[in-house]
């Protein structure tokens, strides 16, 4: 008795290579706003009839993200010009290499909670799953908020997007509040050999072999 598939894969199917583009396209178009909540403190969050444990969790997420996404300044004075005297702190070092000196960042003045599921108006779980499958992150991540020196009533994200002027529920376009780390990355540090050798051998179509 022969085993017809003994030496080869049971299947060789590509689930995503073809439909992926279609999936992404159908996700485009006018973006719907979703509800999220803005608070100064976890206690204030709980006072808005949210489960205290969820408030604490959202606050902890925001605190953890804070040193990664807060805008960075080379000295304290520049930071205080934007955020107010006494409202800046030393930023932790990033990466494993020695930094060239310390950086400063504004203090976290509140947090955005996008993940509390007990309220109506949040993205339905199914939608969230789709978004998570496509992008890997939830539509409105919990994140720190800041207040600028000249506008102390408005909560702003680390990228200076205003999200609310008072605590509580607010409407948000998810794409406007995706946290991005603050430091400027250097780029273009790989690929030079490919270019050099492509110039020497223009027919070479692969860096593999």
């Amino acid at each position: 008795m022969q085993h017809p598939h003994f030496k080869r894969s049971r299947k060789a199917a590509m689930l995503f290579m073809v439909p992926a583009a279609t999936l992404l396209l159908s996700g485009c178009g006018s973006e719907k706003t979703v509800e999220a909540q803005v608070f100064n403190t976890p206690d204030e969050c709980a006072a808005f009839y949210n489960p205290p444990a969820e408030c604490q969790a959202a606050f902890a997420d925001a605190q953890a993200l804070h040193p990664q996404v807060a805008p960075r300044y080379a000295n304290k004075q520049e930071c205080e010009v934007d955020f107010g005297v006494g409202r800046c702190e030393t930023a932790p070092e990033q990466g494993q290499q020695q930094a060239q000196g310390s950086f400063f960042m504004p203090m976290m003045m509140g947090f955005l909670a996008g993940q509390m599921l007990n309220r109506g108006g949040m993205a339905a779980p199914q939608q969230q799953n789709t978004a998570a499958a496509a992008g890997g992150r939830n539509p409105v991540p919990n994140q720190p908020l800041y207040k600028s020196r000249d506008d102390q009533s408005t909560f702003r994200t680390a990228t200076n997007t205003p999200v609310a002027s008072k605590p509580g529920v607010t409407q948000i376009r998810p794409s406007a509040v995706q946290p991005k780390p603050a430091s400027l990355a250097r780029r273009g540090g790989f690929g030079a050999q490919a270019q050099q050798r492509a110039a020497a051998a223009p027919r070479q179509t692969t860096m593999g072999g």
């Binding site: 030496k7 780390p181 790989f190 179509t205 072999g209």
Partner: protein
């Protein structure tokens, strides 16, 4: 082992393009060629290719700790001294490897001869794992091939298992040079398999990789903790961000220690340790200064797609393939001619996933040196 003509599937080009195989034709020259196939017996596959592949793979792995303990060998392999510790660390830390491809000269009789290991950036993965698999299914459905025909090709199954089992950080990133359509096709295929294995997979062009204070980051500046790179280690070690490779908290696939095995210098080291092994060809380090004698091939330590390979047949005919890899040391290997089928010379690429043999791909070239202009032909196992 024989070559059998067969009618190509009508409309296969449009199908190829619809499933991401845009490089089936390169510069108006066919790359995927289904006007014929190669037929092997099960014994040829199992005894002459599968078993030696796993044995040679193990012999190569066994050399790694020996090389790492020897400054002389690290120097012979052209590994920059600044990275010796990093290479050692990647091995001692048990950083897992995904895949590799061995190239064999094999004519269906006698032992397959190992020409080289492509253990860092092996390509022709998609053609082997996916497109020739579909070709066989199609031709069987059309009644053009017997339903009992099989193929030595468990590549996709084994890659999917590997992605499911390897300890990979997530999200896991895949990278290739921006302007190589072929490399993007290979990476797309790997990402697709990784997604099927449940890995959160993302693409970033190699040139777009960022550095924030020694940490590799993606386009949004988030740390990249896991990176598959279809780009040679020996290039990365020479480029502007080379020090980032040491400082960054990133797990690389293939791991850095693979630079020892993707190196042609592994061939003389294998020969030193296993002289006379039926699947090995005599091989020696070579400074490139003496003229080559008949029956020998000279290859740079680092070279791809046959570039800068010089060959003297047993009758003294010289074949040289110019290329951009003339900046290193060389090895000299006894000449084992590729078998000739019609007008073409045929090379067997034998895949390893994890530590298991995972299938073959057959390439043909008009020359004894297999180059980037070679053609890929499907194969079957019958009887």
């Amino acid at each position: 082992m024989k070559k059998v003509p067969i009618a190509p599937r009508p409309g296969w080009q449009a199908f190829a393009e619809s499933v991401g195989f845009a490089f089936h034709t390169i510069d108006n020259e066919p790359y995927w060629d289904e006007s014929a196939y190669y037929e092997f017996s099960l014994a040829q596959i199992e005894d002459d290719l599968e078993t030696p592949t796993e044995q040679l793979h193990q012999m190569a792995l066994d050399l790694v700790p020996e090389i790492l303990q020897s400054e002389e060998k690290l120097q012979q392999l052209g590994i920059p001294e600044a990275f010796w510790d990093a290479v050692r660390y990647s091995w001692q830390n048990g950083e897992p490897h995904l895949y590799g491809r061995m190239d064999f000269a094999y004519d269906g009789k006698g032992p397959a001869k190992l020409l080289e290991l492509n253990y860092d950036t092996p390509t022709s993965l998609y053609e082997t794992g996916f497109f020739q698999w579909v070709w066989l299914e199609d031709q069987q459905m059309r009644g053009a091939l017997p339903s009992g025909a099989d193929q030595f090709n468990s590549l996709q199954d084994k890659l999917e298992q590997a992605f499911a089992q390897l300890p990979l950080p997530q999200p896991f990133y895949f990278s290739s040079v921006a302007d190589s359509q072929e490399d993007k096709g290979t990476v797309d295929y790997l990402m697709d398999i990784a997604l099927q294995a449940g890995i959160d997979s993302r693409y970033i062009a190699l040139e777009q990789l960022g550095d924030i204070e020694g940490q590799l980051v993606d386009l949004d500046g988030f740390p990249i903790e896991g990176l598959f790179k279809l780009y040679p280690w020996e290039f990365m070690l020479q480029e502007e961000f080379s020090s980032t490779l040491i400082s960054s908290n990133t797990r690389f696939v293939e791991p850095l220690w693979k630079i020892l095995l993707s190196n042609k210098g592994i061939l003389p080291l294998l020969w030193q340790k296993h002289q006379g092994h039926p699947n090995l060809l005599p091989a020696f380090f070579d400074d490139g200064k003496q003229p080559l004698s008949a029956g020998w091939v000279r290859k740079p330590l680092f070279s791809r797609e046959g570039a800068n390979v010089e060959l003297l047949t047993h009758s003294g005919e010289r074949i040289f393939q110019p290329g951009p890899y003339d900046d290193g040391a060389y090895i000299r290997q006894a000449f084992a001619p590729l078998p000739r089928f019609g007008d073409s010379y045929t090379l067997i690429g034998s895949w390893v996933v994890g530590d298991l043999a995972a299938g073959i791909g057959v390439r043909e070239d008009n020359s004894l040196i297999t180059k980037d202009s070679s053609r890929f032909l499907p194969h079957i196992i019958l009887g």
